[in-house]
């Protein structure tokens, strides 16, 4: 029923930016395009920073961010923000790794490259392989600010370009450690409790887990036409159901 709005429409919607959003965007696009083949929705990643700039430049219609756009950004590009889900950022390790909990200090020391061996935090005598996200990432921004308290991230860290890729990398490397959107966590990676708090949906929802954030879609100025319909769709019951299915927390 929520899809009825798209009947008889025609045109293209271009989406780019935050990679945490991609699963939801894809599902929504599939449903809309499946109903109406005349609509074409293209979805690119790039990271939150990319999303803001591209929508600001008018290269795409919707720019997604995994963090709140800064005031500068909002002003410079006259952005309209739509927060349609709540999410957390969790430290993850390979399931083969015994470690399931780290304190804030330990996490900060590991990511700063001060702790380089798993045995220093109670694991095997193996070197720690760090994985971090690129500069454009909203996930990185949030993790850096809220989990690392703006501490250093070592230059030795491997740099990964998306949430999905981070999960892939850590699931491949038995001694790797990284961080992903909570919505992306599945059995291929093991979430690590932060200061003793499990990064579960419930904990994020209840505000117990500190490294939380919203998922935003942004447009340049007021959205109109097809783009408006798409954003409206995200807030319908059906849209929010997709959000929950993909592992995020509904805003309603």
């Amino acid at each position: 029923a929520a899809l009825d709005a798209f009947k008889g429409e025609k045109g293209e919607i271009r989406i780019a930016g935050g990679t945490a959003h991609i699963p939801v965007m894809k599902e929504a696009a599939a449903r809309i395009m499946g109903l109406n083949p005349d609509i074409q929705i293209s979805i690119a990643g790039g990271g939150s920073g990319v999303g803001v700039k591209q929508v600001g430049e008018g290269l795409v219609d919707i720019g997604n961010t995994g963090r709140t756009p800064t005031e500068d950004e909002v002003k410079q590009y006259s952005l309209q923000m739509f927060k349609w889900a709540i999410d957390g950022v969790a430290i993850v390790v390979n399931p083969a790794n015994k470690i399931r909990s780290l304190s804030q200090d330990q996490a900060a020391a590991i990511f700063a490259g001060k702790i380089t061996n798993w045995k220093e935090v109670g694991g095997d005598d193996k070197q720690i392989n760090l994985y971090t996200r690129d500069e454009a990432s909203g996930t990185r921004e949030v993790f850096w600010e809220k989990a690392l308290k703006k501490g250093d991230i070592a230059a030795t860290a491997n740099v990964i370009v998306s949430n999905g890729a981070m999960k892939g990398a850590v699931s491949q490397d038995p001694y790797g450690i990284g961080y992903v959107s909570v919505g992306h966590i599945d059995e291929t990676v093991a979430p690590v409790a932060f200061n003793g708090i499990e990064p579960s949906m419930e904990n994020v929802k209840e505000g117990k887990y500190p490294v939380a954030r919203g998922l935003f879609s942004n447009t340049k100025g007021e959205p109109a036409g097809l783009v408006k319909k798409f954003i409206d769709y995200l807030f319908t019951e059906e849209g929010q159901q997709i959000v929950v299915e993909k592992g995020f927390i509904s805003v309603q």
Partner: protein, 296 residues
């Protein structure tokens, strides 16, 4: 002394076989690995997802969870870029080899050598910057898209085509050049009747390299309009998917085994597309030169 020479020759022999075996082993490992892991995912639904193939081909319905849009995207990219690159490339190659004066030639040679060395990502960067520039000039109408990607790709392969054409022509011996002239051929006739046919295999090999390059390139399109999901491109000005980018995307962002399997499938399909392209080009090459040289 003879002993030393024999040893040297034996050394060369052993070395070359070693290289051959090493390379062969590596290729078999790469391709074997792909096929061992990917052959099971090869099926019609890999390409068309859940959509009936006929509907997809007639563009009545979008294909999800299938490679169809990526395959179409890649093929259109190849065709478009080669369309831009071949006429310009061959003409420039012929000009350089046969018409350009010494000064112009030295300059252009250097220029194209440098262009040939230009990394694809830099070409992509320029394509991207051009798109932004155009977008500012004509707000809302131009953004990274199929057209821009194909032009950027054409730039990427142009030097290959130019240089192979030129090299093939310049490599011909003086006697081959003089003969037709002595029979009253004009310069142009000499080129079209004698020099080009004789250097055709060289030129075709350049074109083959170019096609292969277009089919596989990821760096340029990454910056100029390819996206993770877009459906079949409806016009030159839309975003599109492409196989190589799809593989890149899946390799890092797969969410489950099934998605990874489509990655293997895509890799096998891309590999096959490239092989088929190559085969056709080689068949064409043999026949073309045969016709050109041995039939009256």
């Amino acid at each position: 002394m003879g002993e030393v020479r024999r040893l040297q020759e034996a050394g060369v022999l052993v070395f070359s076989w070693l290289c051959g075996v090493l390379l062969l082993g590596a290729v078999i490992a790469v391709i074997g690995y792909l096929f061992v892991h990917g052959w099971r995912s090869i099926s019609l639904s890999l390409i068309f997802g859940a959509t009936p193939p006929l509907d997809a081909l007639l563009m009545k319905r979008h294909v999800f969870n299938g490679l169809f849009p990526a395959v179409v995207g890649t093929l259109s990219l190849i065709v478009l870029s080669v369309c831009w690159a071949i006429p310009i490339g061959m003409a420039s190659g012929i000009y350089l080899a046969e018409y350009a004066g010494a000064g112009t030639k030295a300059f252009l040679n250097l220029f194209f050598d440098i262009l040939a060395g230009l990394p694809s990502i830099v070409v992509g960067l320029f394509g991207f910057s051009a798109a932004i520039f155009l977008n500012r000039l004509f707000p809302g109408s131009i953004h990274p898209c199929l057209l821009i990607s194909s032009i950027a790709l054409a730039f990427l392969v142009l030097p290959y085509i130019i240089r192979t054409t030129q090299m093939a022509l310049e490599g011909l011996p003086l006697s081959a050049r003089l003969t037709a002239l002595s029979l009253g051929a004009s310069k142009l006739q000499n080129i079209t009747h004698v020099l080009l046919p004789q250097s055709l295999s060289g030129i075709v090999s350049g074109v083959i390299l170019a096609i292969g390059r277009c089919a596989e390139d990821t760096a340029v399109i990454m910056l100029t309009g390819v996206v993770a999901s877009a459906g079949v491109p409806r016009s030159l000005f839309s975003h599109y998917e492409a196989l190589p980018f799809y593989i890149y995307y899946i390799s890092s962002q797969y969410t489950d085994r099934e998605e990874l399997a489509t990655g293997y499938g895509a890799a096998i399909i891309l590999l096959c597309i490239c092989m088929v392209l190559f085969l056709t080009a080689f068949v064409i090459k043999r026949q073309v030169s045969y016709h050109a040289l041995y039939r009256a």
